[in-house]
Each structure stands twice: as C-alpha cells, then as structure tokens.
Symmetry: C2
Subunit: 310 residues, 2 copies
C-alpha cells in the first residue's frame, strides 16, 4: 500500500541507502569464479553460480546494516536463463535475511502485458488455480513513457500486496536531458511532466510517512533537479542512483531528503561490489570490504542530513 515497509527498515537501520547488486563477472573475485567454473563448468551455468556465491556473501555481510538491495536485471539476463535463475535465488536469499528487494528492471508495457510483468516481479502467476511467485520482489523500477496504461496494473498490485514501484523521472546519465529536459509548450520539462504523473499515480496509496507506493528515480548527478523534485513531489519517494562511481556527491544527494531525513534511498553498486579492488585488500576479504564501504557511504550521506546525524 506504500513504501512504509521500506521506510521502517531505513529508520531501523538508520541508513537510507541500498546496495545495487549488478554483478559483472569481472567484479567477482577469482577464487569464487574458479570454484564455480570447476563445479559447474566455465559456461553460463558456472557464471550464474559464481554470481550467486558473490551476492550471497555480500548479503550475509551487509544485511544487518543496509535496508535493501537492488539487483539490476540486465546483469543476470546477460548470462541467459541461468543468470535469471540466480536473480531469483538472490531475491529469495535477501528476503530470507529480512532485506527489502528492489528489482531494477525498468520494465514498461501496457495492459495485459504490464500485468504479466507485475505478476512476474511483485505478484504471482496463476497456474492451475494456484498463484505462484515468479520472482517475489518488493519493488520494481519502471519506465512511464507509455502513460497510465503502463502503470495502472502495477498500482493495483501495489495496493493489494504492500509493494511499490519507482518510475524513471530524471535519470543520472549524461544524455538524460536529450528528451527529459526538453521544454514543454505548457511550461516545465518532460521530466517535470513525468514527476507530476507520479504524484497522480500515487494518489490513494499514501502510507503513514506521507509517501505513496509510486516512487521516482531521480539521479544523484543532478542535485538541482533533486531539490526541485523534492519540493514539487511531496508524496513521491525517491530512488537516487549515481552516487559515487557516477560522480554524485553526498551533499548533492542530501537534497533528495525531507526535513525528517526521509523521502529517499540512495543507491551504490560498483563502489560496494568492487570495494576490495579499490582498497587493494586480499580478494577473499571482498565481503568485509563491501561492508566497510557501506558504512563509509552511510556516514558520508548522513553527515549532510541534519536529522540523520548521530
């Protein structure tokens, strides 16, 4: 019915960040790859197995201090259905550890097809009269270019099952402005229009912290737009990518939060997964290095948000 479950986890951990699990095989320590290839073959199955071992170790190490993970679907699909099986197992494992799981799939379609995506990630598919979860995540990123027809099937499930969606509004990449920043004849930009649609789509799903089940993706690399959107979209919870590796700093990111220190969750992927490479520590220490980076990031961001300062 809202992002209340996620917000509660954020308050509980005192940490408004999410770890992106976007596991390119290059990020996985050699000792894991070697073992996985030896046991499962140096093919897609072995790659998928290596990634699962990597994810699992990171989840074990961070689940007590991070509220959520955000697996990026592309990095699993890249290894075929075997990789997608690892996505499923990763989601289930993180949930078993009490984490909130946001699948970053940026899915979009209309009507019955969007219902199918909803069933896949947030609901369940009916097979022989029984409803079975395909992936069983808590939230999904979506692209709103197709309008309400692409969002309505999701908000229906979000209402019934206490799940949420994040709609792309202003993305973190360099070329995001090519379409998103164009000025509309009616005033405002394309991303403003998309943001307003998020507020509208979220009506009727507002939870106890004042945020709806329809969140927005707003990149850390555009702090001015973050501040503008925070002011304009009071009921829209933000997922903020682009901190760290993409160049977004903690001060800029702080604009995404309200005066209570709520209203947003900041993602970091590569900096956490590859912390061991950056630190130059033993690769066997990769999960502990990930934990150290998570703590550094949490404290860095909190230092710019008065309500979160210890």
């Amino acid at each position: 019915m809202s992002f209340d479950r996620l917000i509660k986890k954020i308050i509980e951990t005192g940490n408004p960040t999410v770890v992106g699990l976007d596991p390119k095989l290059d990020y996985v320590p050699n000792f894991i790859k070697e073992k996985a290839f030896e046991e499962k073959g140096a093919e897609l199955k072995g790659a998928a197995s290596a990634i699962y071992r990597f994810n699992k170790a990171i989840i074990d190490e961070i689940c007590d201090i991070v509220p959520a993970i955000k697996p990026q679907s592309a990095y699993y699909e890249m290894y075929g259905w075997q990789g997608v099986k690892t996505l499923y197992k990763t989601i289930q494992y993180a949930k078993s550890k009490g984490m909130f799981v946001i699948v970053d799939g940026k899915r979009n379609d209309i009507g019955a097809t969007m219902e199918a995506y909803t069933n896949a990630y947030l609901g369940g598919a009916e097979v022989n009269g029984v409803r079975l979860e395909g992936f069983g995540a808590d939230a999904l990123t979506v692209n709103g270019y197709l309008g309400t027809d692409g969002i309505a099937p999701l908000t229906k499930v979000c209402s019934e099952d206490d799940k949420g969606i994040f709609v792309l509004v202003k993305t973190s990449n360099k070329s995001s402005g090519e379409l998103q920043d164009r000025l509309l004849a009616e005033g405002g930009t394309v991303y403003n229009a998309m943001g307003d649609m998020c507020e509208k789509w979220g009506e009727g799903t507002i939870g106890e912290y004042g945020y709806s089940a329809v969140g927005a993706v707003v990149g850390a690399t555009y702090p001015e737009q973050l501040a503008e959107m925070r002011a304009k979209l009071p009921h829209t919870f933000f997922l903020v990518p682009g901190y760290g590796a993409q160049g977004g700093g903690a001060e800029g990111v702080s604009k995404a939060f309200d005066e209570r220190g709520l209203g947003a969750i900041v993602n970091s992927s590569r900096a956490v997964m590859c912390a061991y490479q950056k630190e130059g520590c033993d690769e066997k220490d990769f999960a502990k290095a990930a934990r150290r980076e998570v703590i550094r990031m949490r404290d860095d961001i909190a230092s710019f948000i008065p309500a979160l300062k210890k």
Copy 2:
C-alpha cells in the same frame, strides 16, 4: 548492420507481418496443459513446458509463410526463470526454422547496464574468455527515454552483428498520448522528438533497402501518426503493434509502408494464438487455426498496399 536480413525475409515470404508469441497460460489448449502438468508438475516448470509446446507447434505451422516472431518477454518472466528458459528455447527453435526473432522486452538503461542487455539479447557475454549467447535474438525493442546513453551500446552491436533495435516512439495504447503527445516549446511533440532521435541514432547503419538498424515502434491504432512518421522518418523501419485485437485496421496500418511496400512489419499476437478459440474449432487444431489467421491477416494488409497486391 541494418534490417536487411528481416527485409529479405519479408520479400521472400511476401508477408510484412510478425507473429507475437505472448503466451498466457489461458491461451494454451487444455490438452497441452494437462500433458505438461502431468509430466512436469502443475507449477512454474509445468507452465513453462506447456508454453514451449504451444509455441513450437505454432512455429512449425507458420515458419514457411511468416518472416518473424516477436516473443513478449513479460509472458515468460511471469513464470519465473523457468519461463525465461522457455523464452530462450523458443528463440532458438524459431531461428532453427529460419525465422527472424524480435524480443519484445522494451529494455532501457545506460552505459554498462545497457551493454549487459545488449549482450543478453543481441550479443554475448564473455565467460572465461569465450563469448556465449544468453538468448541470441535478432532484434530487441527498447525504450529511449534515457537518451543516447541508452542506445549507443546497442547500435555498436547492431553494426558488428547485423542485428537491429526498435525504439518506442508512438505506442498503440490509449494513454500513449499522456506523455508522447505533449507539445514541445521548440515545436512538435515528444514522440516527434523521439522519432527524430531514431533517425539520428540510425545514421551509419543504413542498409541496401534504405533503412537503418534503429527502427521505431509506432502503433496501428494511430494511422495519422503512422502516415506522419513514415513521411518524416525515411530511414526508420517500423514495428507496428495494435493490429486486430487492439483495434487497428489494415487500411490504417498501410500508412506505415513506403511505395515499394516496404518499411514496416505489422504484429499480431492474440488473434493468431487464440484463432482456434475464435473459430470455435477443436482445440487440437490450434496451430492450423493460427496458420489460417496468419494468411487472412497477410491478405487483409496486402489488399491495402498496391505494391504487395498479388
């Protein structure tokens, strides 16, 4: 390097249509479901198996008269990784029968993540120094909301591997205008801007028929916009959904074609998959009913395109 392979198949079969394989379990005849559930269990595995048997029989029946299939990814993901395995098997089977395969995934992301999607569907992932195909399709539908960063990784692979992409421009659904029809301050609409970007992204990939590797999705339900886009985007090949079940007629669809009868491929999904239900024939006759519908559709559309009339 272009859509030349697809265009050659269209010319060879004299049929500018593609069959969408969006197999909800409800569409699958009972005798197939019963057998699959008996052999594999009435769970996701059984559902995925039923869908594969259904797809395979339809492909066998239409592969000599239809140039391409378009599996819609959502309907496979709905049945978890087991469903995604069926997507893979369906792609491979259709290719073995000489068909061109367009995965309708509407994928979108940036940089390394878009590369991962590209590797998944059109290229290959490197595992232990060897490049392995995740799904091995010929084309992928994508959403261009993120700008060039989301398209460049694809066009690179399209150039190297003779594959193509279709970017959503003006979609067939009722609410497509909520964002896509908004007027820009610079003139034109959001979908006009997206269409122009397709022409630009396609530069350098134009093949022997004058079309690039960057196609556009333009819905059959908006014939005026189809005609407008055909005139404005001379190098952009169109994928036209919305014929039949969604209400787009053959006369409207004909606006998507150039004077040679080229430049577009029209999709039909439910009307073909469920032809046996509409006909009211024995469900065991479902694949032959699909073939009859494919022929009816081909002739219906050709009757409005002078260059294709027999």
